[in-house]
């Protein structure tokens, strides 16, 4: 089974990747460090997963070569589970990409990464409620020190595709 | 306004002027071409440490002087922090250069330096940045007063 790590540039996908797989890919505190994809492997309860660290992309309409790699990756892996990594302090932008991926019918898990930075900026997110509305697992993480990663792993099996209608309904329908 | 901060702006005002003078002296010495010593102070004449480094000390002085305009306000205060960081960069590089010079034995000697040679490297004279270093550390006290990096002191 394949797991894709997707999200905006510099939200810590590669850090999550390193924590998940124990592999070592280069991470930096600036966007665009990963320009090609990296594969790694992890074992959860005897099941093998291939984890792919995808270059950061703002949306599924690619603008540069690294983003093209990302979108192509997603299109090639039709039956993959996507872990959408977002910067909690910029959650709205992150949700945009998350919704795009959900709409394409992928089972998605949302990792609210950089949770600590959001708290520093006094942004409070009700993760449970978000989970309820989106109908997908939502896990706050601080990848840099490993917090929430275990939770993230245990929720991979719970991810299922969600109809956009369901989400619309929960927030009061389409206008 | 808090009295502590008034004291702070006087202190960093003086330090700023001193740093500015050091920076200018550095540049003048480099332009002159011969290194200058006075007691335990030595101003290097090479274009890297003296010229480039001197320019940065001059900038540090300017940062300090900018900051005293409104020392208690966070954006001005952080200019003083930056001034100190610049001094730390220059002094840190000078000290590291001393350390790396003090350990090996040199072309004629053995693998490691003799004890006298080792200690001798650290004897004065020093460059101006080294003299500024202890005084620049006062900023840490002020950072602490503000309650680390997260406090807000706007009144």
């Amino acid at each position: 089974m394949k797991v894709l790590l997707m999200g905006h540039p510099n939200v810590g996908k590669s850090v999550v990747f390193n924590r998940l797989t124990g592999a070592n890919v280069i991470i930096s505190n600036y966007p665009g460090t990963t320009v090609d994809y990296t594969k790694g492997y992890m074992k959860v309860k005897g099941k093998d997963f291939t984890v792919i660290d995808v270059p950061g992309t703002f949306s599924l309409e690619a603008k540069d070569k690294a983003e093209e790699v990302a979108v192509k990756m997603l299109e090639e892996e039709k039956d993959a589970v996507v872990i959408c990594v977002v910067d909690s302090s910029k959650i709205e932008r992150g949700l945009y990409l998350t919704l795009e991926i959900i709409e394409r019918g992928y089972p998605v898990i949302l990792a609210l990464n950089m949770w600590d930075i959001a708290q520093d900026k006094s942004i409070h997110i009700d993760a449970e409620k978000l989970e309820n509305i989106l109908g997908i697992p939502v896990i706050p993480t601080i990848a840099i020190n490993g917090k929430g990663i275990k939770d993230l792993v245990s929720k991979i099996k719970d991810a299922t595709p969600v109809e956009t209608d369901k989400i619309l309904e929960k927030v009061g329908g389409k206008e | 306004m808090n009295e502590k901060y008034n004291l702070g702006s006087v202190y960093f005002g003086i330090l700023g002027v001193v740093a500015l003078v050091c920076g200018i002296a550095d540049l003048v010495v480099v332009a002159g071409g011969d290194s200058f010593s006075w007691g335990i102070l030595e101003i290097p004449s090479d274009p890297f440490r003296g010229g480039w480094g001197g320019l940065i000390i001059l900038f540090a002085g300017l940062f300090y002087l900018y900051s005293i305009k409104n020392f208690s306000e966070i954006h001005h205060f952080s200019k003083a922090v930056m001034g100190s960081i610049l001094v730390w960069v220059i002094a840190g590089c000078d000290i590291l250069a001393m350390i790396t010079e003090s350990i090996p034995g040199g072309e004629e000697g053995g693998w490691f330096n003799t004890l006298e040679g080792f200690l001798g490297t650290y004897a004065p004279p020093y460059a101006p940045a080294i003299f500024l270093l202890p005084f620049s550390l006062v900023i840490i006290y002020h950072l602490h007063k503000r309650g680390g990096t997260n406090a807000d002191m706007e009144e």
């Binding site: 510099n10 070592n24 280069i26 991470i27 930096s28 505190n29 600036y30 966007p31 665009g32 320009v35 090609d36 540069d64 070569k65 959650i91 709205e92 949700l95 945009y96 919704l99 795009e100 709409e103 006094s122 942004i123 409070h124 997110i125 009700d126 409620k129 978000l130 509305i133 989106l134 109809e163 956009t164 209608d165 989400i167 619309l168 927030v171 206008e175 | 274009p47 890297f48 480039w52 940065i56 900038f59 300017l62 940062f63 966070i74 954006h75 952080s78 922090v81 610049l86 960069v89 220059i90 840190g92 590089c93 590291l96 250069a97 350390i99 090996p104 034995g105 693998w111 990096t149 807000d152």
Partner: protein, 412 residues
């Protein structure tokens, strides 16, 4: 079901209204310092200080290991020991390749007394790779990693954005440029973060021609400590001139970018150590084989008199146009394989300070090393051909210009 862009944002607004509370955000000293590093008036002096720290650390660290210990180890112990115990001896071809080719003095072949001149695989090869290049590369990557992980790099990108727009790039081009000062190979890959074909072509061409790599910098610090500043200045000036011309000449777009500036962070020791280790390892996988292979090939070419022959054939170009001794043909051939090797070899040739500057500049700009060449090829052969055409022109004009400057100054 798919949503339109507006519908999607609308939905996000509703979701966030129910789940997110945005508190009042107060500025911290960290934020204020972040602002200072980005605004030009305060940011440029800070960038100057960062560069100073970078260079000073590089010099101290590399000097400590190379001058402090490795020169002594290799010149006073390793070389004499090998000259003693290695079978063959001066004049023997295998001995020449592996240990010491010697050099002619008044018609007599004499042994070398240092590892810059001996040029054997076991002597110069090891000395350059381990004694000079290893400390330089570690020092370089250590600082680079710290700058990256604290979050200074994107701020530098914002700061330099306006300047780089003039050469058809944008702020983020500083990342491949600085990476390239370590090694051109990962820098070529990093240039993918640029959006258009035009930008990538400009970036890769500039990297391949004008940016010396960390190994080369390390050797230059060792061989020409007094004039390295001038050489670098000349190269970086070329970077901007050529960039400006390419930007004007080439069709295509150079779009604006929005850089997301991440908050400053305390680097994590584990991550820094890991990244440093991976980069140094990655570098040496490429470097060591080519340094050793370079020594072998150059020695064979010397022994077979091919270099002498080439030197005579190319003499009009080298001494006539560029004003350098014809013997520099050897280093120029070595530069195909490794630039650091080539600079080291130059140091063994007798010439004036100014000829030395020209030769080092020529070695730097005239052809990317094999490893970089392969990376460029991977990014597309058409672009590579274009880059090489530009390069040939630049070598002749910009290299020749330096000769002209020396003539005008009366020092040629």
């Amino acid at each position: 079901m798919k949503l339109t862009v507006d519908e999607r944002w609308d939905l996000i607004e509703k979701i966030s209204k129910e789940t997110v509370i945005f508190g009042v955000y107060k500025h911290t000293v960290k934020d204020a310092i972040g602002e200072l590093t980005v605004k030009p008036l305060t940011g440029i002096p800070i960038a100057f200080a960062v560069l100073y720290g970078f260079w000073s650390f590089f010099g101290s660290f590399a000097g400590f290991f190379t001058d402090g210990f490795f020169v002594k180890l290799f010149d006073e112990h390793w070389l004499p020991w090998l000259q003693d115990v290695f079978p063959g001896g001066l004049g023997n071809w295998f001995y020449a390749i592996m240990v010491d080719a010697g050099h002619m003095e008044n018609g007599i072949l004499v042994a070398s007394d240092n590892c810059f001149e001996s040029f054997g695989v076991l002597t110069s090869g090891f000395f350059l790779a381990i004694g000079v290049v290893l400390p330089a590369i570690i020092a370089f990557y250590l600082i680079l990693t710290l700058l990256e992980d604290t979050g200074y790099m994107p701020r530098l990108a914002v700061l330099i954005d306006t300047v780089l727009h003039k050469i058809g790039l944008h702020g983020f081009a500083i990342v491949p440029t600085i990476l390239s000062l370590g090694c051109n190979v990962p820098a070529v890959t990093a240039s993918r973060i640029l959006e258009t074909k035009k930008q990538r072509f400009i970036m890769m061409t500039l990297l391949a021609i004008f940016i010396p790599c960390g190994a080369q910098l390390g050797i230059m610090e060792e061989v020409i400590p007094d004039t390295i500043g001038f050489v670098l200045l000349y190269l970086f000036t070329g970077y901007f001139i050529l960039g400006f011309i390419l930007h004007k000449v080439l069709p295509g777009k150079s779009p604006e970018i929005l850089i997301d500036v991440p908050p400053y962070q305390m680097p994590m020791l584990r991550d820094v150590a890991m990244k440093l280790w991976m980069r140094v390892k990655g570098f040496f996988k490429i470097a060591i084989p080519f340094v050793l292979l370079g020594c072998i090939i150059v020695n064979i070419l010397y022994l077979a008199n091919i270099i002498d022959w080439l030197a005579n054939v190319l003499s009009p170009v080298l001494s006539g146009w560029f004003g350098v001794p014809k013997e520099t043909v050897g280093p120029l051939i070595a530069a195909f394989l490794r630039k650091d090797l080539a600079v080291a070899q130059l140091s063994a040739i007798e010439m004036t300070k100014y000829q030395m500057i020209t030769s080092v500049v020529l070695v730097s700009i005239y052809f990317p090393c094999v490893a970089t060449f392969m990376m460029l090829l991977k990014e597309g052969w058409k672009d590579l051909l274009g880059s090489i055409a530009v390069l040939a022109l630049v070598v002749f004009l910009y290299g020749g210009l330096l000769h002209l400057i020396w003539i005008l100054l009366g020092v040629a």
